[in-house]
Amino acid sequence: MSLVTKLATARRKPGRWHWTDIAAYAYLALGVVLMFGPVLWLGMSSFKTQAGLLEFPPSLLPMSQKEVAVPGQSQKLPLFEVEMPDGSKRVLAQVRRIGIQAQMVDPEKSGETIRVPIDKRTPVREFKLATENYTEPLERFAFTRFLWNSVFVTLVATIITLIINSMAAYALSIYEFRGKTAVMLMVIGTLMIPITIILVPVYLVVTKLGLVNSLWAVILPGAATPTGVFLLRQYMLTLPRDLIEAARMDKASEWQIYWRIVMPLAMPALAVLAIFSIMWRWNEFLWPLAVLTKTESYTLQIGLNAFQGELQTQWHYLLAMTVVTLLPVALVFVFLQRFITTGIANTGMK
């Protein structure tokens, strides 16, 4: 609550409220609802039962009908609040429904059956998280497979990206060599070529390499990123030259200088690239969609998209799987938010 009171009393100068201050906070409050609301709604909906999701208007929290075990009944029975003919109210369990009549029993004394018109009963509801939405897809679909594929692609691709991009950045920042300008121009050139315009020929290259439907087809084409080379090169240019010269004096090989001296010093820039690469790879969609056609090689994003076609009526699974897909990114965001935003502000990339 202290945040709210602070917000409510914040002002530009003591005693001076300008209408723009009020408008600003109103806009920010609206923003919180509009930006957080949908994701929050997704999260809450993902814990509703299939029946709960079909309700209209939807309930805010995941509620479901309370059930009790009654002696003499094999299954648990749903509970209702019933308005009796004398006007009193009782909580009864329903055994079965026959037309407009329902057969009810009192869960306390299960002996007598009571017949009630169905419009005299209202379900007794309780707050209940339908965790089976999360556990069942793990057993019933190839969901674990997709999860693993995504993790594999993300980690392996990020490692390859870090190694080959830092090697190129090292060459372009430390050495003078013939053809350096040409190489720099090539790197700049690739900046302008997104996968959207070379979709078909990259598919051909990948086919020629025999990689269609393999996860390597997703990993390799995007491994060399011009933005990564640039980012690392700019950073390496700021490293002191004396250090490298001193290492050469000590007979360190070029590889050792790169790996033992430059890489540890470039850690902040490598970290930025690592986080961006993880984001890119985890969220990648168009290219995997084109190149992965077998279910067992799907990544999470592709699997989720395929599910939404097949499971039109099974939103309870779809929502839960969407939340699982969102979770790693949410965690990264919570821990590295400041880092990512400064990274974007400094590099202008995403």
Partner: protein, 340 residues
């Protein structure tokens, strides 16, 4: 600011360290062979060894495809390999541009391509306009003397990190027939609206959702620009009791203009390539009401019964030319920014 600067660095270093651990082991094995190689070719030429892997990747997955793309676009047939494809000259381009009237997609031989062009053009126009307006407004509000600025900045920024599939499914759930939005509408006495079945509403929502998902990124760029404007300019204006709207028009907007151009061009480049969110949210529908150019390329090359690589490649080349022009505009804009 200093402690805030160092903290994220440390967090990032930890994240990178986790990845670096298995690498260290691997690299130790490379040490010996690399030393031997250096003795063989000399210190200077090691530069080529370092640049080689990256260049190999660029050549194989960017430059070579770029050339093949052009070859594809001037050959026909159903084969994937250029050797199986007969040369047809400009025929594919001829098909693409075979139109009774360019303003009416249904009069075209490749009507889906022109639907894509017209939808993408409309989408980009609306989206870039809304994106610039809302990210500017948000950046200005975030730049005011407000409490909990970091929190509010995070609120607007976090959807940028969500995957397009997650974004699309989140909104699809809200916009569906029995969704939250229709519940809100009926609760105030309105009629249910089939948002993704009505062509105009579908267009509105794909613009809305893509602004929702990406405005945080552009807001950050504009916020950085706003924070770079010297505070004494504002103080001088306050001394002269200049009205706020005038301060905005005469100080804020002109000094922010270089960042604004970057935002506009970047949003244009992204907008023209829109595919992911729209594909999951509407599937290009209803009918072809939200079918985009990239969707057409994907469909023609991969999703249709008869895969037509030549036509898809020709459409890619057309899209590439548009993007190239936009990128040149961006370079010109950033050069002006550097000069300013």
């Amino acid at each position: 600011m200093a402690p805030a600067e160092t903290k994220p660095r440390r967090e990032g270093a930890v994240a990178a360290g986790l990845l670096a651990a298995p690498l260290a082991l691997l690299m130790r094995l490379v040490d010996g062979p690399m030393g031997a190689l250096q003795r063989l070719i000399g210190e200077r030429r090691m530069a080529y060894v370092f640049i080689l892997p990256n260049l190999a990747f660029f050549s194989l997955f960017v430059f070579l495809p770029l050339i093949i793309n052009v070859i594809f676009s001037v050959t026909g047939g159903a084969g994937l390999f250029p050797s199986e494809r007969p040369f047809v000259g400009a025929q594919q381009y001829g098909y693409l541009f075979d139109c009774g009237s360019f303003l009416d997609p249904s009069s075209c031989r490749e009507d889906h391509f022109w639907r894509g062009v017209s939808n993408t053009a409309r989408f980009t126009l609306f989206q870039v306009t809304a994106m610039v307006l809302f990210s500017l407004l948000t950046a200005i509000v975030l730049n005011m003397k407000i409490r909990a600025r970091g929190f509010f900045r995070a609120v607007y920024f976090f959807p940028v990190l969500l995957s397009p599939v997650v974004v699309a499914l989140t909104w699809k759930w809200i916009l569906q027939r029995d969704g939250l939005l229709n519940a809100a509408i009926t609760s105030i006495g309105g009629e249910r609206i089939l948002f993704l079945v009505d062509p105009s509403w579908a267009m509105f929502w794909i613009v809305f959702v893509s602004v929702w998902a990406h405005m945080g990124f552009y807001t950050l760029i504009l916020l950085a620009g706003l924070q770079a404007i010297p505070a004494d300019l504002y103080e001088a204006a306050e001394m002269d009791a200049t009205p706020r709207w005038r301060v905005f028009w005469r100080i804020t907007l002109p000094l922010l203009w270089p960042n604004m151009i970057v935002v506009i061009v970047l949003a244009l480049i992204k907008g023209v390539q829109t595919f992911d969110e729209v594909f999951v949210l509407t599937g290009g529908g209803p009918g072809t009401a939200t079918l985009m150019i990239v969707h057409y390329i994907y469909e023609t090359a991969f999703a249709n019964q008869v895969q037509n690589f030549g036509l898809a490649a020709a459409a890619s080349v057309v899209l590439g030319v548009v993007l190239f022009a936009l990128t040149l505009a961006q370079l010109a804009a950033s050069r002006r920014k550097g000069a300013a």
